[in-house]
C-alpha cells in the first residue's frame, strides 16, 4: 500500500481535499490555483470576474478562458438536464435570501447586512415565476459573453465539479480532488485498485470516476428556504428528496445529474439517472 500526499484547505465556500501519488506539481500549487479560481468566480466579491460580468448585462464583455469554458459548460448542462440545471438562478437566489456567504447568513438574517455584495443586482427586477431558458439569457462567443438585461449567473456547484476535474489533470494520473463534495478520482490510488471513497453509505473504489451530492438539508435558512432554486418556479425547490448522490465519469457530470435528480424527486430521478449515471443514492 503506497502513501498518498494529501492537503486539506478551505476554498469555494467549502472544505477541499487533494490526494495524489507522485503528483506532477506540489499540492500547494494546485490549492493556490483553486484559490485563484475561487477569487475570480465567487459571486460574493463585487470585484470578482463573475461579479463584474454580472454587473454589465446587455453588453458583450471579454471573459477569461476559464469563465468562457464554464459558461459553455453551463449551457451544456442546461440542455442535458432538460432545463433543470440553470445558472441564471442568481436573482431568484438573492430574492430567496441567499445574498451573502452562507457563513454570514447563518450569523445574521437576510436583510440585516447593510451592503450586499450583489449591488449589481439592485436594478434587476423581481424574478418572474419560472426562469427564461438559459440560452435566451446567456450568449457565449470565443473570448466574449453577454447576459440579457435582468439576468445574472451563479456558477456554484458547476464550478466545484469542473474545478475538481481540472485539479486531477494538474496533479497527475493517480490523484483525487474533492471540492466541497464534488470529487474526481483518477488512477489506482494507494492500493492500486482505486481510491476508496464513501458513497451512499458504502465505500467504493474509484479509478476514473466523478461523484457529487446535491441536497437541501445543509444550506437552509428560514422555513422552506434553501439554496436549490427550481428554475420552473423561481423558488427553492419543493422535493421529497433531501439528498442525491451520483457517480459518473466526471465530477461535473455527477454534479449536473445530482442536481437534476433532486429537482425531479424520488419518482422520476431513477429513470433520469438510468443509462447516464454509474451509480446513485437517493435519500
Amino acid at each position: 500500500m503506497k502513501v498518498a500526499a494529501s492537503l486539506r484547505f478551505e476554498a469555494l465556500g467549502a472544505e477541499c481535499e487533494l490526494w495524489a501519488l507522485a503528483p506532477a506539481e506540489p499540492l500547494d500549487a494546485t490549492a493556490e490555483w483553486i484559490h485563484g479560481l475561487h477569487r475570480r468566480l465567487t459571486r460574493f466579491d463585487p470585484e470578482s470576474e463573475l461579479s463584474r460580468f454580472n454587473a454589465r448585462p446587455g453588453e458583450w464583455l471579454e471573459v477569461s478562458s476559464e469563465l468562457e469554458t464554464l459558461l459553455r459548460e453551463a449551457l451544456t448542462a442546461y440542455e442535458a438536464s432538460g432545463g433543470l440545471v440553470h445558472v441564471g438562478i442568481l436573482p431568484a437566489l438573492v430574492e430567496a435570501g441567499y445574498d451573502r456567504t452562507f457563513r454570514e447568513l447563518a450569523t445574521s438574517p437576510a436583510g440585516d447586512v447593510p451592503q450586499s455584495p450583489h449591488a449589481c443586482l439592485d436594478e434587476v427586477s423581481r424574478p418572474p415565476r419560472g426562469l427564461e431558458p438559459l440560452p435566451a439569457l446567456l450568449q457565449v462567443r470565443p473570448g466574449r459573453a453577454r447576459l440579457e438585461r435582468g439576468a445574472a449567473v451563479d456558477l456554484g456547484g458547476l464550478a466545484k465539479g469542473w474545478i475538481a476535474d481540472r485539479a486531477v489533470e494538474r496533479m497527475g494520473s493517480n490523484s483525487l480532488a474533492n471540492c466541497g463534495g464534488d470529487l474526481r478520482a483518477l488512477g489506482g490510488g494507494p492500493s492500486g485498485e482505486g481510491w476508496p471513497v464513501a458513497f451512499g453509505g458504502r465505500t467504493l473504489l474509484l479509478d476514473d470516476h466523478g461523484a457529487a451530492t446535491s441536497g437541501t438539508a445543509k444550506r437552509r435558512w428560514g422555513e422552506g428556504k434553501h439554496h436549490l432554486i427550481d428554475p420552473r418556479t423561481g423558488a427553492p425547490a419543493v422535493t421529497d428528496l433531501s439528498e442525491a448522490s451520483v457517480l459518473a465519469r466526471t465530477a461535473l457530470d455527477a454534479e449536473v445529474l445530482a442536481k437534476t435528480a433532486i429537482l425531479l424527486g424520488s419518482a422520476l430521478a431513477p429513470s433520469a439517472l438510468g443509462g447516464r449515471a454509474l451509480g446513485w443514492a437517493l435519500a
Partner: protein, 77 residues
C-alpha cells in the same frame, strides 16, 4: 348500373357480411371463467425479491465496493 353504384353496393355488402360474421363469432364464443390462462401465471415465491428497477441506491456492476476505509467522500456542501 354505373360502376360507382356497383362499387358502393359491394362495399356495403362486405361491411354487412363482416358485421354479421363478427356477431355470430362473439355469440358462439362466450368467456369461460374456468378456462386456464395461457401461459399459466407463476405465483411469486415468498422469498423472491423484485428486480432492481430504480430504488434508492444503484451501483453499476463495473464499480467495486471495498472494505477499505474511505479516505474521503462525496457530500453536500
Amino acid at each position: 348500373m354505373t360502376r360507382a353504384v356497383l362499387l358502393r353496393l359491394a362495399a356495403t355488402a362486405a361491411t354487412v357480411v363482416t358485421l354479421l360474421a363478427s356477431a355470430g363469432y362473439v355469440a358462439s364464443h362466450p368467456k369461460d371463467d374456468r378456462a386456464p390462462l395461457q401461459p399459466p401465471v407463476v405465483k411469486p415465491s415468498p422469498t423472491a425479491r423484485p428486480a432492481p428497477t430504480g430504488g434508492r441506491i444503484q451501483i453499476q456492476p463495473g464499480v467495486r465496493a471495498t472494505e477499505l476505509p474511505a479516505i474521503t467522500g462525496t457530500h453536500v456542501s
